[in-house]
């Protein structure tokens, strides 16, 4: 079992790198950068825009940009500066030098042997583009002495020898990070934590509601097969399954927020949220959650209810149920001890898949309902080409999918003794 999990995780890592390559590559197919937005403002100079572009390395080749992104993620880093060389660094800080001559400009000595393809690939950086941006270079580049500390935290120590000297750059431990968002100008992690939690909140509420409602209904429908209740339920679930979520959301929004002001029109908190006391805060959030949670629940309800019903019916036809009944066990015991357990087993995998869809599953709904979650954030980020943010959301979604699948498989093994992994 343990070996199996480790193998799965190793495969998953490879998959994630593939996914990141795919995502990054696809995103780079479109022309333009986030900073194009600034260009339409006559009050912002071209120089400022160029500086911003250089600051985030958007003028570099795509593979360098990808490696920069990947490098941020690694728990150990080669990259103390934005200069071309990853393996060899010039041990001369920017301090005391004229701004017109950034420390990187003469440094094109190849390392004797590029042991890893990643480093070899990053060698040819254009000094030309760097030269035009002395300001951001010096502002951003952390001197080599500071190792791989975060960019902003270190000031160049004064009074070091100005003589250039190359030194092997040992990889050092650093905290992995997801880069800095162009739009928010903050570390991506800081930007996404809150939307991520909001999305988790919405989805967990919706999943809980779905299961709490769908399971009893499914069981009820199976036990009362072909009776009125079952028929009503299956009719409703067909309608629920076919009503597009965004359309349902629009209708609910229109009925309860547009026409009657009964429910809040979107968002997650009222403006007066922080004046409220604890209890009211909870109510406020719950109030805002009603429309999105209902839409998500109805969307998931139909399918789950039907599957539960089907499984339950299937199980009830099995011989061991008949045997249990024949033994004279009370009907309740037959159903809840024998039948239900086996009927629910296959559902456990569904739970894993729901976990997988936790982040991206409600994206469209979040956008339509203006819910401050990951979907909303990703939408604006994708449209405005805020690449670090898009990559972060994309990768988080992929990780959750992987995790969800793994969990689904493991849960199945736990629930069903017939399945074992080796």
């Amino acid at each position: 079992m343990g070996a199996y999990i480790i193998r799965r995780i190793l495969i998953a890592l490879g998959m994630l790198i593939g996914a990141s390559l795919l995502g990054f590559g696809v995103m780079k197919l479109t022309p333009g950068t986030y900073f194009d937005l600034l260009k339409m403002n006559p009050r912002i100079s071209q120089e400022h825009v160029d500086q911003q572009i250089a600051r985030y390395g958007l003028n570099q080749p795509v593979y360098v940009q990808y490696l920069r992104w990947l490098d941020n993620l690694l728990p150990f880093g080669f990259k103390p500066t934005e200069s071309g060389s990853y393996l060899w660094v010039e041990e001369s800080p920017a301090a005391g030098r004229p701004a017109q001559a950034p420390p990187e400009d003469e440094e094109e000595e190849s390392p004797p042997a590029a042991s890893e393809p990643a480093e070899a690939a990053t060698q040819p950086t254009q000094p030309a583009t760097l030269e035009t941006q002395p300001a951001t270079q010096t502002a951003q580049a952390t001197p080599p002495a500071a190792g791989a500390a975060t960019l902003a935290a270190s000031a160049p120590p004064a009074g070091q020898p100005a003589m250039a000297k190359h030194k092997f750059n040992w990889p050092r431990f650093k905290w992995p990070n997801l880069g800095e968002s162009f739009e928010h100008q903050e570390p991506v992690w800081d930007v996404i934590t809150r939307p991520m939690l909001n999305t988790l909140l919405l989805n967990l509420v919706a999943i809980a509601l779905t299961w709490l409602v769908a399971l009893p209904l499914g069981i009820y429908a199976a036990l009362n097969q072909h009776k009125l209740g079952d028929l009503v339920l299956s009719a409703i679930s067909f309608v629920g399954m076919s009503l597009p979520g965004f359309f349902m959301a629009l209708i609910l929004l229109w009925l309860f927020a547009g026409m009657s002001n009964f429910l809040p029109p979107g968002g997650l908190r009222s403006a007066t949220y922080d004046q409220m006391t604890g209890w009211h805060k909870l109510l406020d959030v719950a109030w805002h959650l009603i429309i999105p949670a209902i839409v998500l629940t109805i969307g998931g309800l139909a399918g789950l209810q039907r599957i539960t019903r089907g499984n339950m019916l299937e199980v009830l036809r099995q011989q061991y149920v008949t045997t249990a009944r024949a033994k004279g066990l009370p009907e309740n015991r037959v159903i809840y001890r024998h039948a239900l357990r086996n009927a629910i087993n296959p559902l456990i995998t569904i739970f894993g898949y729901e976990l997988a869809a936790l982040f991206s599953g409600a994206a469209l709904l979040e956008i339509v309902l203006d819910y401050p979650g990951m979907g909303q954030l990703m939408f604006t980020a994708i449209v405005s080409k805020d690449e670090p943010l898009v990559m972060a959301g994309f990768m988080l979604g992929a990780i959750l999918l992987l995790l969800g699948n793994l969990v689904a498989d493991l849960l199945l093994a736990v629930a069903d003794p017939r399945i074992s992994y080796s």
Binding site: G14, M15, L16, G18, A19, L22, G23, V26, M27, L29, T30, F238, V239, M241, S242, L243, P244, F246, F247, L250, I251, L253, W254, A257, G258, M259, P265, I307, P346, T349, F359, S360, G361, A363, L364, I367, V368, G375, M378, F379, I382, V383, K385, V390, G393, F394, G397, A398, L400, L401, L402, N405, A408, D409, L412, I419, Y421
Partner: protein, 388 residues
């Protein structure tokens, strides 16, 4: 590796002809058995009829719709739904419904106050000559419409949008995108899925591993984010036709992998079945075995999967269009028409703009019913179980 349990139909374990057990006389072809089963599923039949009507309307859109999709009339912006009358201004009843010419003025609060000019009634006519529209995907031109009213008056059964374009006509024309995207998309995904799944399952070995990894990679990426990112990569200079195909390909791209995996599983199980063994032993080439024996036995699954996947494409296109990523105006799709209704003001003051959502709902539901019926009809297990 485990086989992730799929809630799918298992492949028929026997030769299809043998399925017709319990039926005396000549053996029925699998298709006619399926058809017979389907006919018993009344809801699926209703759905089928509804879909046939929809597709016919879509094919003859220029004829069925009273106006071409881009027939604007700026005096009629946001005309409310249903201006057909049977009782005239004097209170007399007319058997033939008619419309009045109407126009609006703004009140101080910028509401449109509509007034009808009751001096002349324009009766509803069948086979009326009007603006020239196209049908059969633009192949044919037609100036004759199934129904309509004479020129200065306009018929607005489901209201008008901001340019005074008839919503009903646009819904009918929107079917060109919304009704076909599912079929084209499923076809693309199915072809890729069958090829990849077939090769992967039949050949096995390293090729199988590589293909499976690729499938897993595609299944790994979060769907809706990928849709949005991919849409953004479509070049700006595309025509709406090209955008349409772009969207189809994008949708197919994220959904072929699961099909391929399932088909691979089925091919694996069919590969070791007796009739394939027999074909191999008989000296058939692998290509022939795959195309003649292995893949056909996955067809029933393919048909069911297709009918169940089509709604996903319709919803995917509509979802993307609702947030502004899809075929752009003036070409109508149900999604981009709904995008106009997305604002709460529009919903409150012009709720008829929400009608395309109803069209999506009906279509998706019809496909769901049909898929359900097909699954039952083609499921070999249920064939025997069905009570006559």
């Amino acid at each position: 590796m485990t086989q992730i349990p799929q809630n799918v139909v298992e492949p028929p374990a026997e030769e299809p002809g043998a399925l017709a057990r319990g039926v005396p006389g000549r053996p029925l072809s699998p298709l006619s058995i399926a058809w017979r089963n389907l006919r018993k599923h009344r809801l699926a039949m209703v759905a089928l009829v509804v879909l046939i009507i929809m597709y016919l309307a879509m094919l003859c859109d220029g004829f069925v719709a009273p106006y071409p999709y881009n027939a604007w009339d700026r005096q009629q912006a946001y005309h409310p739904a249903w201006n057909l009358h049977v009782v005239d201004a004097e209170g007399r009843f007319h058997l033939r419904p008619f419309v009045y010419v109407s126009h609006y003025e703004f009140d101080p609060y910028r509401n449109r106050i509509w007034r009808e000019d009751t001096s002349r009634a324009y009766p509803l006519k069948l086979l009326v000559r009007g603006q020239t529209g196209t049908m059969l995907f633009g192949l044919l031109k037609t100036g004759v419409h199934l129904y309509g009213v004479q020129a200065p008056a306009r018929l607005y059964l489901l209201g008008a949008d901001w340019q005074g374009r008839d919503i009903l006509s646009r819904i009918i024309f929107g079917g060109r995108v919304s009704l076909t995207i599912g079929i084209v998309g499923t076809a693309i995904a199915m072809i890729i899925g069958m090829i990849v799944g077939g090769i992967s399952g039949y050949v096995g070995g390293a090729g199988d591993t590589v293909l499976q990894r690729i499938c897993e990679l595609i299944m790994l990426i979060p769907g809706f984010y990928t849709l949005m990112i991919l849409y953004n990569t479509l070049p700006a200079s595309l025509t709406s036709m090209q955008v349409y195909f772009g969207v189809v390909v994008i949708l197919a791209f994220i959904s072929w992998a699961s099909l391929a995996r399932v088909i691979r599983g089925m091919v694996l199980s069919v590969k070791s079945s007796d009739f394939v063994m027999a074909a191999r032993a008989g000296g058939s080439s692998p290509w022939r075995v795959v195309t003649r024996h292995v893949l056909p036995s996955t067809f029933s699954y393919a048909i069911v999967a297709a009918s169940l996947q089509i709604p996903a494409y319709i919803l995917g296109e509509a979802g993307l269009s609702v947030i502004g990523m899809g075929v752009q105006e003036p070409a109508p799709t149900w999604g981009n028409m709904l995008q106009q209704a997305k604002s709460v003001t529009e919903m409150t003051f012009h709720p008829w703009l929400l009608w395309p959502g109803v069209a999506i709902f009906l279509t998706v539901m019809a496909f769901n019913f049909l898929g359900d019926g097909l699954r039952d009809a083609l499921d070999p297990r249920t064939v025997g179980l069905k009570k006559e």
